[in-house]
């Protein structure tokens, strides 16, 4: 919301308050100032001048030599290429060393050999348009027709192009502040100044309005108030300068007196106005009704709309002539031929206007106001103000009385002024009178203990709302800050600690943390070769996504991770090892929330990175988190991974996660010409199987015995099988079993491999004798033989 300070000062005597003081104070009382700007601020050293002589340039057929009087000293010689000048014209003169909008600098110079001591300016060069000065021409020097300007006067002052424009951020609960009057009320309360409002007075005297038009509201739930007034003998012409100036400062383009009046009243009162061509209203009737299903209207901007019964329209006897609260129809637009017009000032249901504006894809200044919920009591004063302005501007002949159809009870809400509660709530100690003084400035009145809330403040409902008004004008900064009492203890839950341990361990293992979007494109499932019938393809889908790339909630963390890896690869980073604690969203029943599960995903590429790099990180992580007793098996079935280099981890029959090298085709899909490996674990499953409570085992008192075992087995036998055999054979004497060599090649039969383990045995209660060691090794070898391995001799 823009505000003209000049307009504001018509209502509140702020005098010459420095702008910074004004903006600070209103910001602190609740109307936040975003920025401010003085009109014509970029213009300097441009003054009013008068052309005193004019002759053709001797060396040019289009340049003119002017002598221009700027009020002091000799007239200046200025060369111009404009053809619209004559002696005696009052013009803007950019003197030597002046600036114009856009940072343009003017200096003395020569044009075709003759000195030019500045420049005569056009409207455009001053940053103005024909809307601001309708009498001026666009293609030529701006010849002023303003009264009372002096030669040498700064041009912005002479043109009234020196208002201060303040831009506010108005919160959605304060539709009343989308108006000059609303902001004036706030300013008056902030600075404890009087608010000088004006009551419009219409002379009328041109027949009865009621004889000319009939109004009926047929959807009273969507239109609590409709009022209209007819103006005859309309005289369309430009508005006077004061009105154009104010509109411009508020960011609205002046058009003509009728349009400008509707805009002016909307800005001043916060009440949208509309005008119809009376001649175009069939039957001279106005019906406020729901549109028929499929009913069509072409709005003022030339766009055709098909309406539904959810849209409210203003119609004549036959057809809709406006989409209520949004935009008028082309069929009833005021054209040059219009002689009689109807002003509408109405109140429509906010949510209904909001829905309609959305459904027809059109948001206007009017609809933005209506959406917030307007005060029906504001309709008639605004309508009167419009008619008063018509008379003031001599824009037509106003008829007597307004035609209305009213469907609300103009009653004010009452809230008890609970001084004690408010003081307790805010930690203040204000008297009832002090509170009343603040509320009075906001146009609240009092009846006994009750506050009577004005109807333009529908946001004031509860005593907490009153407390806010008190706090705002008492000053948030005057309320002390006090520390909470009571000794609450904050703590992390075991699950939060666990997640934090996952993170710190991954960092220690060399993985950097990433964060990726939770939404992905359905195409990402193709990129990781997810089977067409995979249940994971069924994803929570956003009905109004920004684009396909962010249209579904991921059911797997892999594609987002691979995007990140690929980005690093494309940015020519030699290696990357990344992890994310990533939520996935698994759909449940229709109409129910999805199951949001946290996954740990870690992926990496770079030299020396292979399946076992990832497996090593995964094993270290699980060990650090005390997740033990998991099982691993080859898992050739996930098409995202290399079928021979992928494993599934399970724990107590539950899936814990997957480790694998990415399938070459997946790598190709991501444009990566290297290998990458990845593992994903379900955090909840890890957490449930983690031994969170640590236990202590005494350090051994008796020595351990180590034996190396060199074995021969089939090449296809997984090493895990041999390890399990050793474990079975050694029983509880086993301290550790470590693989230290796998060999195929010379001296080993084709189809077989040699595998070497180091086995460490220890008895916690005694020193192992040579006999027990030998007997245990024998058992181990027996188990190994059962598993198909024999000692390599």
């Amino acid at each position: 919301m823009n505000l003209s300070m000049r307009w504001l000062k018509e209502f509140v005597p702020l005098d010459e308050m420095p702008i910074r003081d004004f903006t600070e104070a209103v910001t602190m009382s609740g109307c936040k100032v975003e920025s401010w700007e003085k009109e014509g601020e970029e213009i300097s050293n441009v003054v009013v001048g008068k052309v005193v002589s004019l002759e053709q340039h001797p060396d040019s057929d289009h340049l003119w030599i002017t002598k221009t009087d700027v009020g002091s000293g000799e007239p200046l010689q200025i060369i111009t290429g404009a053809q619209n000048l004559k002696v005696g014209d009052i013009v803007p003169v950019a003197l030597h060393n002046s600036t114009l909008p856009g940072g343009k600098k003017i200096k003395r110079g020569k044009l075709r050999g003759l000195e030019s001591d500045g420049m005569l300016c056009s409207l455009g060069e001053l940053g103005l348009t024909k809307h601001d000065f309708p009498y001026a021409i666009e293609d030529g020097i701006f010849v002023l027709q303003e009264e009372g300007c002096r030669l040498g006067q700064p041009i912005c002052e002479a043109l009234g192009f020196d208002d201060m424009k303040v831009e506010f951020e108005i919160t959605s609960n304060r539709p009343d502040c989308f108006s000059v009057i609303g902001l004036a009320r706030e300013a008056a309360a902030t600075f404890k100044k009087p608010l000088n409002l004006h009551t419009p007075a219409v002379k009328g005297g041109h027949g009865s309005c009621a004889d000319l038009v009939k109004v009926s509201v047929e959807a009273p739930d969507l239109c609590p108030m409709y009022s209209a007034r007819v103006v005859k003998n309309v005289r369309v012409k430009p508005s006077p300068r004061w009105m154009r100036e104010r509109l411009r400062a508020m960011g609205v383009r002046p058009i003509n007196n009728i349009v400008d009046i509707t805009n002016y009243v909307m800005l001043e009162y916060g009440q949208p106005m509309h005008s119809f061509d009376y001649a175009m209203l069939t039957g001279h009737e106005i019906h406020v009704r729901r549109a028929a299903e499929g009913e069509a209207i072409r709005t003022l901007d030339g766009v055709d709309h098909k309406l539904t019964k959810d849209n409210l329209v203003i119609a004549d006897a036959e057809k809709p002539v406006a989409v209520a609260g949004v935009m008028g129809g082309e069929n009833s637009e005021i054209t040059d031929g219009a002689t009689t017009i109807v002003f509408e000032s109405a109140c429509f249901n906010g949510p209904s206007v909001r829905r309609t504006a959305r459904s027809i894809g059109m948001r206007t200044d009017a609809s933005a106001l209506y959406e917030k919920g307007l005060d029906p009591n504001n309709c008639l004063p605004a309508l009167d103000r419009a008619c008063e302005l018509v008379e003031l501007l001599d824009a037509g002949d106003v008829t007597d009385g307004a035609v209305t159809d009213i469907h609300f009870t103009p009653e004010c809400l009452r809230i008890r002024l609970d001084t004690d509660w408010i003081n307790r709530f805010l930690d203040t100690s204000l008297s009832t009178d002090e509170m009343k003084a603040i509320l009075s400035k906001l146009d609240c009145t009092f009846e006994g203990d009750d506050i009577v809330v004005p109807t333009f403040r529908p946001d004031l409902v509860h005593k907490a709302d009153i407390a806010e008004e008190i706090a705002r004008f008492y000053g948030y900064d005057k309320i002390p800050g006090t520390i909470l009492s009571g000794g609450a203890q904050g703590k992390y839950t075991p699950r939060q600690k666990f997640e934090s341990a996952v993170g710190t361990t991954m960092l220690a293992l060399g993985a950097s943390e990433i964060m990726t979007y939770s939404f992905i494109s359905p195409k990402y499932y193709d990129k990781i070769r997810m089977p067409a019938d995979s249940p994971l393809r069924k994803s929570v889908t956003i009905s109004n996504p920004l684009g396909e790339d962010t249209s579904i909630m991921r059911t797997t963390a892999l594609p987002s991770m691979l995007e990140a890896l690929a980005r690093n690869y494309n940015n020519r980073n030699e290696a990357a090892c990344l992890y994310e604690l990533a939520a996935v969203y698994l759909p449940t029943e229709e109409g129910k929330l999805p199951d949001e599960r946290l996954r740990l995903i870690c992926s990496m590429y770079g030299s020396d990175t292979d399946f076992f790099t990832a497996k090593g990180v995964a094993e270290d992580l699980l060990a650090r988190l005390s997740v033990t007793g998991w099982d691993i098996a080859a898992f050739p079935d996930d098409p995202a991974y290399h079928p021979g280099r992928c494993a599934k981890l399970t724990i107590d029959g539950e899936e814990l996660g997957v480790i694998g090298e990415l399938h070459p085709k997946v790598m190709e899909n991501y444009g990566m010409d290297c290998r990458a490996v990845s593992f994903t674990f379900d955090v909840d499953t890890m957490f449930r199987h983690a031994q969170l409570a640590k236990t202590y085992t005494p350090l051994p008192k008796f020595p351990a015995v180590s034996r190396d075992l060199a074995l021969i087995c089939l090449d296809i036998t997984p090493v895990k099988v041999l390890e399990l055999a050793i474990r079975a054979g050694a029983g509880n004497l086993l301290e550790s079993v470590k693989l230290f060599d796998v060999y195929r090649g010379e001296q080993i039969e084709i189809g077989k491999k040699s595998v070497a383990f180091s086995v460490t045995l220890r008895d916690t209660d005694s020193t192992l004798t040579e006999e027990r060691v030998a007997a245990t090794m024998k058992k181990i070898i027996r188990e190994l033989e059962k598993a198909g391995a024999s000692l390599r001799l």
């Binding site: 509860h462 948030y476 002390p480 800050g481 904050g490 950097s512 964060m515 956003i542 009905s543 929330l593």
Partner: protein, 371 residues
């Protein structure tokens, strides 16, 4: 020269005098042994000088002091000496043995010293060569900041609570005093899944869920991802992180809200931060405020960082709206509370002068490694 000896007596042929020179002969024997011992000592000293390594030293030790060594051999002849002479020669022999031993030890340690010195010299490094690296991971800057904030709140007695990101409209809006068609919904452009399920636009729904389950006193923060339909650019992201907090108890005042947040902001932004509370509107709090800190760059003068305002908005807050409390079955006549919320990305961007929000979600290691 020595003939033989038997028992204590030596019989040494000496010209034709026979026994005549018995004692004189013995004097000569004694002289001989002393000379021999001296000679051994001299020789040993000589040899020691030439011994350059551990092995040579060990050989010398065996040669002179060993069971079959030269000194032992001499000592074996002691029997031929008289009872008077024996202790004299014995003492001398022991002295010499001790001396040789000493010198051997000294020489050994000399050699060790030399060897160590040589090794140290040989092992001299170019210490300016790079160190050997163990790759460490880097925490995401958003996590770093979030963890710090969590610590501050836990220290002030807050628990940390999370909740669903895909949420019911009820929890995200309605329970928070934003019924359907409420104009404030427009300021939070929402991604919808269906009519009543959406991607939460704030983490406040977690507060509602907590209030439904837990009766006051409540002190929680709820950090997490939130979603708004904003196109991606340098300062907008359709997904970002928020940290919201809630305190509900008997007698909680607006002054408590100010005091608590002032403490937190000073912890986050430094003890000398200047803070202001300015009225604002949120449908779920009343009174509501936005909190600004004075621009750390220009100290309130107005600069590019603060867009000329002198202040930087950092969070929104307010007293929990009585309707929100009633919606959660908490009696607003008995209890009151305050709530606040702040965005994590903007905070981190300001902290490190990061000018593009997209960097957080692009995850380039060159970016991540800086934290």
């Amino acid at each position: 020269m020595i003939g033989w000896y038997r028992g204590d007596c030596a019989f040494v042929p000496f010209g034709d005098e026979g026994f005549f020179c018995f004692s004189a002969r013995f004097e000569r024997e004694e002289m001989d042994m002393k000379e021999q011992l001296e000679a051994i000592r001299k020789k040993a000293e000589q040899d020691l000088l030439g011994a350059d390594d551990k092995k040579a030293l060990e050989d010398l030790r065996i040669r002179y002091l060993g069971k079959k060594g030269e000194l032992t051999a001499i000592l074996k002849q002691m029997g031929s000496l008289s009872a008077d002479e024996r202790p004299v020669v014995g003492q001398l022999a022991n002295q010499i043995r001790a001396r040789i031993d000493e010198e051997l030890t000294a020489r050994a340690s000399e050699l060790r010293e030399a060897e160590t010195a040589h090794r140290l010299e040989r092992e001299k490094l170019d210490v300016t060569l790079p160190g050997k690296h163990r790759e460490l991971g880097h925490k995401h800057p958003l996590s770093i900041e979030l963890d710090e904030i969590k610590e501050i709140f836990v220290g002030l007695g807050f628990d940390i609570v999370s909740g669903p990101e895909v949420e019911y409209d009820y929890y995200n809006f309605e329970a928070l005093n934003m019924p359907k068609d409420h104009p404030a919904r427009d300021t939070q452009d929402t991604f919808y899944i269906s009519d009543n399920i959406l991607l939460r636009t704030q983490t406040s729904p977690v507060q509602v869920r907590v209030m439904e389950k837990q009766k006051p006193p409540i002190r929680i923060i709820s950090p997490g991802r939130v979603y708004r339909s904003d196109a991606v650019d340098a300062t907008h992201s359709p997904l970002f992180n928020q940290i919201e907090g809630l305190v509900v108890d008997k007698g909680i005042t607006f002054a408590n809200l100010k005091g608590t947040l002032e403490v937190i902001i000073k912890r986050m932004y430094g003890e000398d931060s200047v803070v202001r509370f300015r009225p604002h509107h949120f449908p779920f709090t009343e009174p509501s405020a936005e909190v600004d800190v004075q621009c750390f760059n220009c100290h309130g003068e107005g600069c590019r960082l603060c867009k000329g305002e002198g202040w930087i908005e950092i969070l929104g807050c307010g007293m929990v709206h009585p309707k929100v409390l009633s919606n959660c079955d908490i009696d607003p006549e008995v209890y009151s509370g305050f709530a606040f919320g702040m965005g994590l990305e903007r905070l981190v961007m300001r902290k490190y002068s990061i000018d593009d929000m997209r960097l957080f979600y692009e995850n380039d290691v060159r970016f991540l490694k800086q934290f």
